[in-house]
Each structure stands twice: as C-alpha cells, then as structure tokens.
C-alpha cells in the first residue's frame, strides 16, 4: 500500500539506505518532500509534484525560445534554460553556420528532442541533438508533471507498451514531462485522454488494469 508522507515525517532508522527525497538527522531518515515512500531498494520519497531539474543523460523535448549566436536557447520545462551549440548541428557536415543564418536550421518555436549532455555547477545546461531530433508537423505535444513520467512508462515499460499497442500511436515520453503523440486524429485524441487520466490518477494502485479496461471499453 502507498504511504504518503509530508516533509519532516520520520520514515526509518536505517540511515544507510536513505535515498532521494529524504534526509538523515541523528541517524534517522526523514522525508524531505511531500510524496510517497518507496523502500524497495533504498528508502526514497517519490515526490507528487515539483519542478524538473535536468541531469546528465536525460532525454528531453525542448522548444527554441531564443537565438543568440552561437547558441540556441531552449526551454525544457524547467527553471533552467538549456542551450544548444551550432556545432551540434554541423558535426557531420563540413560547413559552419554563419551568424544570422541560424534560423534556417532551427527557428523560434521549433521543437527538438535532445539529450542533456552536461549540467555544470552554475546550472548551465548543454544539449546534444538526438538522431531523430526535429519534431515535424502533425502529432500532439502535451505537458504533464515530470513526477508522473515513471508512472506513464510503467514497470519495465508495461503501461506505455499497452498504450502504444491499443491506441496504435507513436508515443514519445521525454524525461521533462513532455509527451509527443503521433497517429490518426481519433487515436491521438484517445491517447491524449489516457495520458491525462494517468497523470491525474498516477498515485492510485491498479492503474494499469483500469487503463486497459478503459481502452478496451472504448474500442467496443
């Protein structure tokens, strides 16, 4: 059963197993965030809300919000903006992007899939492009809380696999909580509805079964 804790709640005496979302004081583990306790491997508190903070290796969906040579400034649904260097773009071609022509490659408002290459102590975030980086036309982009992303993926991908199969859509979930769905109009709408349903009920048990039931009843 899920155990909800608030900041300052005592969780355990096992200080050596303290993990994310907890802190240790006088050898005891306390909750640092409002969330749900998970003590399968280490004692963690999975937050129910909060802002996304990029870490190295995350795959995110970002929006170009500013061009400032030689960087594109990218909004990644976080308090911190990310930047993408022009060299990321031309790595394989032997050309240089000239000042003033960056907009031809990526313009304001364009959406990209990128990997967080590095985050420094000043919280400057550097992005690297993925192979299939540009989000083309068609499809939907929705933003959910990044804390709900693991639930949307499900244990070893069970939830998202089922969703992809039953909705017959292409679904891409980025670590920062942005979800890109592509498929036929009706199928996209259905997938979108389910993603929002999962976000709303992320903390409940038996969700995979309920989603499955919901999708089956919709098909009939």
């Amino acid at each position: 059963m899920y155990k909800v804790v608030v900041p300052g709640d005592f969780i355990s005496e096992e200080a050596n197993r303290a993990g994310e979302g907890t802190y240790v004081e006088e050898g005891k583990v306390y909750a640092m965030k409002y969330g749900i306790v998970d003590d399968r491997e280490e004692i963690k508190v999975v937050a129910l809300s909060g802002k996304y903070v990029p870490t190295k290796g995350d795959v995110v969906i970002g929006e170009i919000v500013e061009i400032s040579f030689p960087y594109w400034i990218v909004d990644i649904a976080s308090p911190y903006e990310a930047r993408l260097h022009t060299s990321e773009f031309t790595r394989n071609e032997r050309e240089k992007i000239e000042f003033g022509s960056m907009g031809k490659y990526l313009d304001l408002g364009d959406l990209i899939v990128a990997k967080v290459m590095n985050v420094d102590a000043m919280m400057r975030v550097d992005l690297a492009l993925k192979d299939e980086f540009k989000i083309g036309e068609g499809g939907r982009l929705i933003e959910i809380s990044h804390t709900k992303v693991p639930r949307l993926i499900g244990r070893s991908g069970s939830m998202i696999r089922m969703l992809k199969e039953k909705c017959n859509c292409f679904i891409f979930i980025a670590k920062n909580g942005r979800v890109w769905i592509k498929g036929s109009e009706d199928e996209m709408n259905l997938a979108l509805q389910v993603v929002l349903m999962i976000e709303n009920e992320a903390h409940t048990s038996g969700l995979t079964d309920r989603v499955s039931y919901f999708l089956d009843s919709f098909k009939r």
């Binding site: 804790v5 900041p7 809300s49 802002k51 308090p79 911190y80 009920e201 079964d209």
Partner: protein, 248 residues
C-alpha cells in the same frame, strides 16, 4: 488600555466572548491544492480568518542580479485584501505588511532546503481575504502547506499560532476583539517535530511567568495545528488511493 478593559468585558463566567475556553483554538479548516495554475496552494481558515496561499516555483529569478548562484531565493508576500477588514484597507504594501512578509519569510528559513535549486526564486503569496487577528500566523500555516504541495524540499513543516493576555488571563489564539482590547499579543511559529521556534514577536506586556505559560500554550497548540496540516495533505491523496484499492 486601562480604560478599555473596564468598558469591554472580555471574559464572562470563565469563558471568552466567542464562548471559547482560555486554551482553546478557533476552528480550523484546511484545503490543499485549490488553485490550479499555482504549483502549490492552500486555503486556510482559522475562525474568521480566511487566507489563501499560493506557491510558484522554483522558477527563473527576475531580475537576474537578485539571483543567488548557490541557492534559491525565497520571496514571501503577505498582503491584505482591501475588503479583509471592516474599514477598507488601502491596497498595496505598507509598513506593517512589509514587516510581516519579512518575519514570515524568515520563519521558513530553517526548513526550506534552498541549495537544491540554485539561481531560482520560490514565490510565496499569502493573501488575507478576511482578517480577525492572527493573520500572520494563519498565513504561515497556509504557506507551509502550500510549499509542501508545490513539492519544495523542506526539512519540516512550520505551524503557527498566537497567544495573548486579556483581562489578566493568558489565552490562546486571540480573536479580533481580544486583540484590540487585550493587554498583549504574541505570535509564535514553530517546527513541531523539533520544537524549534522560528518566529516570536510580542506586542504588549507579559510578566515572566505569563510569557512562559503563553509560550507553552502556543507550542502545544502548534503541535495540534501541525497534525491538522499533515492530515490535510495526506488525505488529499489517500482518498483517491482508496478508490483504486483491492485491484493490485
């Protein structure tokens, strides 16, 4: 207020004007997550005090030169709505609300773990919709719940209540009349788990023994308020967990 004391009898037959005992809190109501567009929010009622707290962030700090490279900056705004008091209050910050904002912000200093979000701002807005003495304590209670709701990392929750002296008696949680015609008013904010006092102000005079008794009253009441805050937060999610029970 020697004259006022005699004119208005604040204690009748061992009861206060609103029928409360000396050590009794006003009824408290807490609702979590009432504002959809805020990252965390709380509506808090304490007797006739009605307070709304909203937390935004951590978000990018503007203007940039106020950023702290090592930690988040907490901004706290206590504001009274013009209609919150009997005579219309002139809108906008004044000497009083600027001071209250400052001390309330500092009441959260020991609990918010600011190092997790360098260069950002955490905005706390506390709006007093209706006031009846002890609004800063109600505001702190509301802000504490709203901060937790926003997922801000904190070591503990903060709870707050005022004590005062009316008709020579030390009483808990003054109401408006008691505040106006009483002899002393002392708001206290505290971390319930560790009994750490994070705000202590006093208006009026207490004798040493009265102060000690008042502080003890306030600390005991903070524990009660803490339980209510905690219950409100936990119920928000356990209710819907219950619906899905038995399936897994």
């Amino acid at each position: 207020m020697k004259e006022g004391e005699k004119e208005i009898e604040l204690i009748k037959k061992g009861k206060r004007l609103d029928g409360r005992g000396f050590e009794e809190l006003r009824p408290i109501k807490i609702e979590v997550g009432v504002l959809k567009r805020a990252d965390g929010s709380c509506y808090f009622e304490m007797g006739d005090n009605k307070v709304m707290a909203a937390v935004y962030g951590p978000r990018e700090m503007h203007p940039r030169h106020f950023q702290d490279a090592k930690m988040a900056v907490v901004k706290y705004r206590y504001n009274m709505a013009p209609f919150s008091v009997d005579d219309r209050k002139r809108p906008g910050p004044d000497r009083r609300s600027v001071e209250i904002s400052k001390v309330s912000r500092e009441a959260f200093d020991p609990v918010i773990i600011k190092e997790y979000y360098p260069k950002t701002a955490i905005d706390v807005y506390v709006e007093i919709l209706q006031s009846d003495a002890g609004t800063r304590t109600a505001g702190i209670n509301a802000a504490s719940v709203a901060l937790a709701d926003a997922g801000i990392p904190m070591k503990d929750m903060v709870s707050s209540v005022a004590v005062g002296k009316i008709g020579g008696e030390v009483v808990l949680d003054l109401s408006g009349m008691e505040d106006n015609y009483g002899e002393a008013d002392m708001p206290v904010a505290m971390v319930a788990r560790t009994n750490t006092i994070t705000l202590l102000q006093m208006d009026g005079n207490f004798k040493k023994e009265e102060f000690e008794r008042g502080l003890k009253l306030a600390m005991d009441a903070c524990h009660k308020i803490y339980e209510l805050q905690r219950t409100a937060l936990i119920e928000r999610y356990s209710k819907s967990v219950g619906e899905g029970e038995g399936e897994e």
